[in-house]
């Protein structure tokens, strides 16, 4: 059995192509089952996200397998082969193993370290399980990939810091306040980034949202969207008394909050800290305000600076993660090798013989002094029992049956056979 992956991702194919070959909704199960019927593909997992479409497969003949999968994609989606060939990548054997590890650990993602991909991969696996399209190989590879991804997440800081402006705002809020669920946020004006930041804050616990806008009906619209309260625009400075986080994004040509006003607000708030995010260009908040105690003002450039630093950090962490991936490939390959028949048969034999000898010795000791002849016949008896029992499994393992490799795996597990690779392979 050989493992391979055929697929395309955001690096090799533009969105137009990715859309065309996506296996979304009911197409996914159909694809899994069609592939299984093809004959060449013995096992498969189909992963389809907005950034990648990949088919992981176990095949007995590498080239025929690749051909049949390419053919399948082309026919299933009605996409010409030459268009596909330009975008598809193919990884075989250990490269395929490495690829799945890297995908699971989010090293191959558009935003390196983003956590969704592992969940998406697990979902793809669940669909495969439901349709019984996986066997020993892909099961093992999948388990291994998840554990590698987890190892990378704990041993490196690849997913630790925010790499988008709105997440950076949340990260900062968490470094200023201890508990976001007791905090209120005010949105001044509207805009995609401001709304996104407000959403992320709400996902992180912020419950109360106040909205204000020069146009009253726009404010009401937003308030409905966020399940928040409307504040009159000419009154918003006064309302800052009750808001701990302010996201400002108006089209005003100059400052709408001056230092003196902010000083007064802080006095009213008894100096309770306030976090102001000014996303507007040109800026709407007097930058001098950052010099006041307990006021933390961030502009869009400040947030970008943080995001850039974090992206740099992730790149460094990704190098460490790649090292872990390379380490872990070895253990999968060892397991794969262990599936060749000879070591398993030898181990099975040794195990049976070991048990026989140990039991024989125990019995002889219990019997006390016995004639040489009796001993010999007991030995003969035990040997022939053992041989009779292990003959059929040995014969089956030596055969050329299709499921031979599965049996090898099962035998190892049933008899708890210790073959080298299993020791350093904890999932």
């Amino acid at each position: 059995m050989n493992i391979l992956v055929v697929g395309l991702n955001h690096k090799t194919a533009p969105i137009e192509v990715r859309e065309k070959v996506a296996f979304d909704g009911p197409k996914l199960e159909e694809a899994i089952n069609t592939l299984m019927k093809s004959g060449e593909v013995k096992e498969n997992i189909v992963l389809s996200t907005c950034n990648r479409v990949e088919i992981y497969a176990g095949v007995s003949n590498m080239d025929a397998g690749i051909e049949s999968i390419k053919d399948f994609i082309s026919r299933f989606h009605d996409v010409p082969r030459n268009l596909l060939d330009k975008s598809l990548y193919i990884h075989r054997g250990s490269d395929a193993v490495k690829h799945m590890y890297r995908v699971a650990a989010s090293l191959d993602s558009m935003v390196v370290g983003e956590p969704q991909i592992l969940g998406q991969l697990k979902d793809a696996y669940d669909s495969a399980l439901k349709n019984k399209s996986t066997g020993v190989f892909l099961n093992k590879l999948m388990r291994k990939s998840v554990s590698v991804a987890k190892r990378i997440r704990t041993e490196t800081k690849i997913a630790e810091s925010a790499v988008s402006i709105s997440f950076a705002a949340v990260e900062l809020a968490k470094k200023i306040f201890d508990n976001l669920s007791t905090k209120a946020v005010m949105l001044i004006g509207a805009g995609e980034m401001a709304e996104l930041a407000a959403r992320h804050l709400m996902n992180n616990g912020v419950k109360e949202v106040y909205v204000t806008n020069r146009t009253q009906c726009r404010a009401e619209e937003l308030a409905r969207e966020f399940n928040g309260n409307v504040v009159l625009f000419h009154n918003f400075v006064h309302e800052l008394h009750y808001n701990d986080i302010v996201i400002c994004s108006t089209g005003a040509p100059d400052y709408i909050l001056m230092k003196d006003q902010a000083r007064k607000v802080m006095k009213d708030r008894k100096q309770k800290p306030i976090f102001i995010i000014d996303i507007s260009v040109p800026r709407n908040i007097d930058p001098e305000i950052n010099n006041l105690d307990n006021v933390y003002l961030y502009t869009v450039d400040d947030l970008k600076g943080i995001v850039d630093t974090n992206i740099g950090e992730r790149a460094k962490e990704a190098e460490k993660a790649e090292k872990i991936v390379n380490e872990e490939i070895g253990s999968f390959l060892k397991w794969h090798e262990s599936l060749s028949a000879t070591p398993v048969i030898v181990a099975l034999r040794n195990k049976a013989e070991g048990i026989r000898k140990a039991e024989l010795e125990k019995t002889l000791k219990g019997l006390g002094p016995v004639e040489e002849k009796t001993i010999r016949s007991i030995e003969q008896l035990t040997t022939s029992i053992v041989n009779k029992i292990i003959h059929p499994p040995t014969a089956a393992l030596k055969s050329d049956d299709e499921d031979r490799e599965q049996m090898l795996d099962v035998v190892q597990r049933l008899f708890k056979l210790n073959i080298e690779s299993d020791e350093n392979d904890k999932t």
């Binding site: 630790e160 470094k175 800290p273």
Partner: protein
């Protein structure tokens, strides 16, 4: 024999604190989290040994071992550790050991410098007020020591947030509000303890010397300390002196505590001098 045991315990505890301090400081500059645990384990080990040293000394001397500078400073750092463990396990703040263990170590190290012989208590100190007064005073001082450490953490984190720099340290330090609130809790703990220590001191002074208050330098400086922390609490509650200002005040306050403790005893002698 038992004197040697308490010295052995003391030296081992001091060594543990030194190592914990190093581990804590390394943690500040390292990316991985590993040394924080080491610092904590070392400080727990040190604390156990330290407790052993105090207990053996208590058995040998027959009174709470706080009757000379060596014992008093050692007991002081022991109290800081109790509060440190309490906060470490309650809030699980990363990096707390990096800021508290240096204080513990410096106290313990100064203790090691002072003469160590066990002396017979002077008659004035042979009173149960002695134990109560001293324990209250040191627990109060320990709370102020913690507040100082937390205050330093606050100033550092505030600097990161204000200057808009992200660094591994920024990510590891707790939030400003958490630090500010713990700082406040510590001062609300330390202040009543100090107040009680002063009240018991006054009562005891009256029973031992016949006067409540004699403007002895230690008394004066305790009063100054008390006034400073009273002011810290007052300003926070009335005009909202929280955050940076509170952090700075808690550092200043602790500097005065340290002066009242070491400076007054060593430079301006009074009835609190142990020698």
């Amino acid at each position: 024999m038992s004197l040697e045991i308490n010295v052995l315990f003391f030296e081992l505890a001091l060594t543990c604190y030194a190592l914990a301090t190093i581990a804590g400081l390394v943690e500040l500059f390292k990316r991985k989290k590993s040394t924080s645990r080491i610092a904590l384990y070392l400080s727990v080990l040190g604390f156990i040994l330290h407790t052993g040293s105090i207990v053996t000394r208590y058995i040998q001397g027959g009174h709470i071992p706080v009757s000379n500078m060596h014992e008093a400073t050692s007991f002081f750092s022991w109290c800081v550790l109790i509060l440190f463990f309490f906060h470490e396990f309650k809030y699980k703040l990363g990096l707390l050991s990096s800021f508290i263990m240096p204080i513990v170590f410096v106290l313990m190290f100064s203790s090691a410098i002072f003469p160590r012989e066990i002396k017979v208590l002077s008659p004035a100190l042979q009173s149960y007020w002695f134990g109560i007064h001293v324990i209250l005073a040191f627990l109060g001082d320990a709370a102020f020591a913690m507040a100082c450490g937390i205050g330093i953490m606050y100033l550092l984190q505030e600097w990161y947030v204000k200057s808009k720099k992200v660094s591994p340290l920024f990510l590891k330090l707790p939030s400003l509000q958490t630090l500010d609130e713990i700082n406040y809790h510590l001062i609300t703990l330390g202040f009543p303890l100090l107040t009680l220590a002063m009240i018991t001191g006054v009562i005891w002074a009256n029973s031992a010397w016949g006067t409540y208050w004699r403007w002895d330098p230690k008394e004066v400086w305790s009063l100054i300390t008390w006034l400073i922390y009273a002011l810290v609490l007052h300003l926070r509650l009335t005009v909202g002196w929280r955050g940076k200002k509170a952090a700075i005040l808690s550092i200043v306050g602790f500097a005065v505590v340290i002066f009242a403790f070491f400076g007054v005893t060593l430079i301006l002698k009074g009835r609190h001098t142990f020698m």
